[in-house]
């Protein structure tokens, strides 16, 4: 029987195995070698590979991003980690103007093999500046790749592929996935970038989801199954390049589309996916597509407001019922209300 790991352990193992195989791989980020090791994802690495390959850094996100880019230009394969996407906003110029364009603007002379891990914070009052989910931004920029794993299996396989990729890859991890458990082979293996996955087969509608919202989609599908509705769920996994053929095939089959994303609704991931479906499969749509995403407001800190801010399974269910013209009814998600501002009892704050 196969070994099980938690998501954070899978990230750690992918980094560990990649560093063991290739001396060019090194990792850097605020707190990477500290006792908490980025929620366990970098624990033990410095003991194993030394402080040259597992580095802490000054609180200089912009400069240090330029530094890892420069090192990548001369043959290194850096993995940079930011504890929140919000902090990485300081380094946008280096990511977008330099890393994303280097290969193209110099006619392919060099490329920037770089993985930038960014965490999405949620819950326990992370609030307006520790919770942003800006994957749509990075996916808008040519030259970047954008990856959002959900399962421990994919976390390991996709991170390994990202580290081996010769381009800048924005690898986005959701804090609420860190403790989920799943089968993860000991061996070194790859999950290809650019491939979405049908994680639950269904016939009545298609739910395309990103990151943590895949779990909410699953919960919704369970509830819907109770009323005989069979939702097909697609885990996007890679936002750029986007695997729209899989999405189109599914929608052509079900005729109905819901996009569940961890980011803001307007100008977000849902818009792109709906647009591609409208462009390519308009005739197959039996009903208007719907986005389940964050309302267009900053993240409130109060737990009471976050319950209204973050959409969950019951919201997806409500959307589906309306889409299918079913009567409104009170839906219970079966998950303790505490999960409104924490993912589960294992999460006690403060971060």
């Amino acid at each position: 029987m196969s070994r099980e790991l938690k998501f954070f352990q899978a990230v750690n193992e992918a980094t560990d195995q990649s560093m063991a195989r290739d001396k060019a791989v090194y990792t850097m980020g605020l707190g990477v070698p500290d006792p908490k090791g980025i929620f366990g994802t970098t624990l033990g690495l410095q003991d194993k590979y030394g402080s040259d390959r597992v580095m802490d850094m000054p609180a200089s996100e912009n400069g240090m991003t330029g530094v890892v880019i420069g090192s990548a230009l001369v043959g290194m394969r850096p993995i940079m980690t930011h504890q929140r996407i919000d902090f990485a906003l300081l380094s946008i110029e280096q990511i977008v103007n330099q890393a994303a364009k280097w290969h193209y603007m110099f006619g392919g002379k060099r490329s920037v093999p770089l993985v930038i891990r960014m965490l999405i914070g949620r819950g326990w009052g992370q609030g307006p500046q520790h919770s942003q989910s800006l994957q749509a931004w990075f996916a808008h920029v040519p030259g970047l790749k954008v990856v959002m794993p959900v399962t421990p299996y994919d976390a390991k396989g996709l991170l390994i592929s990202s580290i081996e990729d010769n381009n800048p890859v924005i690898f986005i991890e959701h804090r609420w996935l860190y403790n989920i458990t799943g089968p993860v082979p000991e061996k070194f293996y790859r999950v290809p970038l650019g491939k979405a996955k049908v994680v639950r087969k269904g016939t009545d509608l298609t739910i395309v989801a990103t990151s943590y919202m895949v779990l909410e989609a699953f919960r919704a599908a369970e509830i819907l199954a109770g009323s005989g509705i069979h939702a097909e769920i697609i885990d996007i996994r890679t936002l750029k390049p986007l695997d729209d053929s899989l999405i189109l095939d599914s929608v052509r089959k079900t005729g109905r589309l819901i996009v569940a994303d961890t980011g803001w609704k307007s100008f977000g991931v849902g818009a792109e996916i709906i647009a591609r479906v409208a462009e390519e499969a308009l005739a197959d749509l039996k009903s208007p597509p719907v986005r389940v995403a964050l309302p267009d407001c900053p993240t409130p800190t109060s737990p009471e407001l976050s319950r209204y801010y973050y959409p969950r399974a019951i919201n997806i269910v409500a959307v589906v019922r309306q889409m299918l013209g079913m009567p409104k009814k009170k839906i219970v998600s079966g998950i303790k209300d505490i999960s409104l501002d924490i993912p589960g009892d294992w999460f006690k704050g403060p971060f």
Partner: protein, 321 residues
Amino acid sequence: MTPKLLKELFYRMLRIRMIEEKIADLYPEQEMRCPVHLCIGQEAVAVGVCANLSRADYVFSGHRSHGHYLAKGGDFKAMLAELYGKKTGCSEGKGGSMHLVDLSAGFLGATPVVGSTIPIAVGAALGTMLRGERRVTAVFFGEAAVEEGVFHESINFAVLKKLPVIFICENNFFSVYSPLSVRQPERREIFKLARGYGAPGFQADGNDLFEVCGLAESAVRRAQQGGGPTFLEFKTYRWREHCGPNYDNDLGYRTEAEFQSWKKRCPVEKLKKHLVKEGIFNIRDTEGMSEKIQKEIEEAIAFARKSPFPEKSLLMENIYA
């Protein structure tokens, strides 16, 4: 400083200490559902600097702002309610511990992205100058903030325009669990960085109220007299874990011995001893103070607990002014 003032400043330090410790006690109840960065051990900097500011002066801070907010005269009830995520909080529960504000006290705001309120404080100083006001603006930040490029952009501009702003760096040697040795050059004194810009830069013991007051007073005077910005570095020490209510010396990123040596230099105890020695007050006075503060704290807790949560409609309010 007059005995009266000294008593008052001691009271402010004791009050911050007792409030922070109470928060630490209550935090495990899981009712304050937001990250908290306690300033226990660093009270003298907040009180010493703010003692030299008037209510009309402005203060900005970062993630570890409770002490600065309270020292500047921020409403304690509103702060605690904010930690509890209540509508009566200073930010209506939308900000939490990392986003405190009290306009009536001149505490314009604290936000937790390291270094990011520094240019905003400089801008406030520019604004007051353009408006012909005689206010001074002070901004508190940790020693990691000087690693952010924006600090340099800010001080360069402040010196260029001779702005009435004071940069207060609380150097507690750590950024979360990362020691200075992995972040800044050895033997490179932070206050000397400021001098490179042509800004007067000084360093002192942040656990000694008198040293803090001394430097703050001259910095405020310089700002008021059009002498431009001053950079003050205060060495101090964070007692509790970086974020949260506990002690974390067991993690091994710093030694118990180092912690104990700093604990011996407790800013509150140090001032207390001095005042008693000088006969400015006796232990009984301090007990009276504790009781008074205790009562205030109990009231604030009751207020925060019984306050309502923000209702759903507030979610989409105040996105735009």
